[in-house]
Symmetry: C2
Subunit: 279 residues, 2 copies
């Protein structure tokens, strides 16, 4: 259904070509600015059904965008002609729960029983916030978003279980209503915040000591806002110790052919009203 805006040639395809030919090996933030990016999880088919259950049971943490056919590295619904073995700048390969490689392509690890799962990424709602004049602090400060392991458990599925990880972005109190309403329009990209304010409600003892990413200083009028974070599925899969698991390296995402606003529930409604639209 997301295929509505797939085009054969665009900035996203250009960016993937650059990545495929190793012209770009760094993080993908800022590449093909109008296009949504995605988290990658690759698992043997034997583990895929339980992992999909985990995603369905935790939709804010693991919003499902695409699941490839078994053995196929081609996410047809998200990007024409893309190859998930070569089109991300860097990967992390885990065997039995331990990281064994951080290659720039995974052709030598690919097998006929692998399934690739692509999950929504917060870049899209950050783009929507910035477009509305609400830029996120960590970008301005050129830092990684701070992430925290909470005391809330995900809903488990088979071997996949563990705590929810959240990302934090500070906003002035008077912007909180707009921030929540804008991000709520993108349920496939983590959606509305899971919590606003007191970090101890999530079991976070010290905002200055994130578990991943960089600490951010909060202004006097600023409130911490927490979103479900795409690091959660990586942590949960590593805990489950499957024989093989491959992820994008942090920040080195898959760039889709779909525009950010194709994931905006409201924009979709407007399009269907104006033009006949698509599901």
């Amino acid at each position: 259904m997301h295929t509505a805006t797939v085009r054969a040639d665009n900035d996203a395809a250009d960016a993937r070509r650059g990545i495929r030919s190793c012209l770009h090996t760094g993080p993908t933030r800022g590449l093909a600015p109008g296009f949504a990016q995605a988290n990658l999880v690759v698992l043997p088919q034997a583990d895929a059904l339980d992992f999909l259950r985990f995603c369905v049971r935790n939709p804010g943490l693991c919003p499902l965008l695409e699941v490839t056919d078994t053995g196929s590295p081609h996410p047809h619904g998200l990007a024409g002609g893309a190859d998930l073995r070569t089109d991300l700048p860097r990967y992390r390969v885990f065997r039995d729960g331990r990281c064994v490689d951080e290659p720039t392509d995974i052709r030598k690890y690919w097998r006929s029983d692998l399934v690739a799962i692509l999950l929504g990424c917060s870049f899209t709602f950050e783009w929507a916030l910035a477009s509305a004049g609400l830029p996120v602090a960590h970008q301005d400060q050129r830092k990684n978003v701070p992430m925290y392991v909470t005391d809330r458990l995900c809903v488990s599925a088979g071997p996949f279980h563990g705590p929810m990880v959240v990302s934090m972005r500070p906003f002035p109190q008077h912007d909180i209503a707009r921030v929540t309403e804008i991000t709520a329009r993108f349920p496939a990209m983590h959606g509305a915040p899971v919590h606003v304010g007191d970090p101890s409600v999530l079991g976070i003892a010290d905002l200055d000591a994130p578990d991943f990413g960089d600490p951010l200083s909060l202004g006097a009028d600023e409130v911490p806002v927490f979103w479900a974070c795409g690091v959660t599925p990586q942590a949960v899969v590593q805990n489950a110790c499957p024989s093989l698991a491959i992820f994008h390296a942090p920040g080195h995402m898959f760039i889709t052919d779909l525009s950010h606003d194709s994931f905006d529930c409201h924009a979709r409604a407007t399009r269907s009203r104006q033009s006949g639209g698509r599901p």
Copy 2:
């Protein structure tokens, strides 16, 4: 994540008890009015992964609410203590693509390799429309919603493929903007319309001859509005001829413990702003 509003005892649990003890064997519309209902698809595990791929690739048609553990008839995330073998008023059992039974419980068909998939249902957005003073015509006219097989193909997955089926509800032209905006807030319940106006755009030749349900007369100022319809996955699964498939009988849905508005992206955002919320 939808577990936020699950309660041990409520109108939904009462309704399921009445159904389980065969006090209620008819359609579920109007039962436990505040609670969301769901479409049921039961498949052998061997077919489940491809069917989940189909759902992920067609999220408007097949919004995934829950996938049970293999062999388990308990949809823990949607309803505490529920049993999908007994808690729907009527089922349809298919073998190799042919309907072989329409029982009021499926205990004798249940197997240790079965997986139950629950999908969003339009009752929730109809409730939201009615709450906003925009009642749907077929309810007022005590008819079944008219449904049409379109000329648009779903995105296929393995053996699962076929045309999109849509439901149609007429609304006055001046209400279309509100109708689309309200239903867009429920992406897990089919969301925004897929089309507004001229039926021929979807390959529908005659509005008075629906493929399923009852025809509805349109007023002079009324426009037909089309939504992705939960009949689609039933048609697609029947086409694929799995050895066994079980569905709810039309209109005989599963009643969840989750309130309609727990699926409203906006209400969720407001809750997270006010109370700390949940993912």
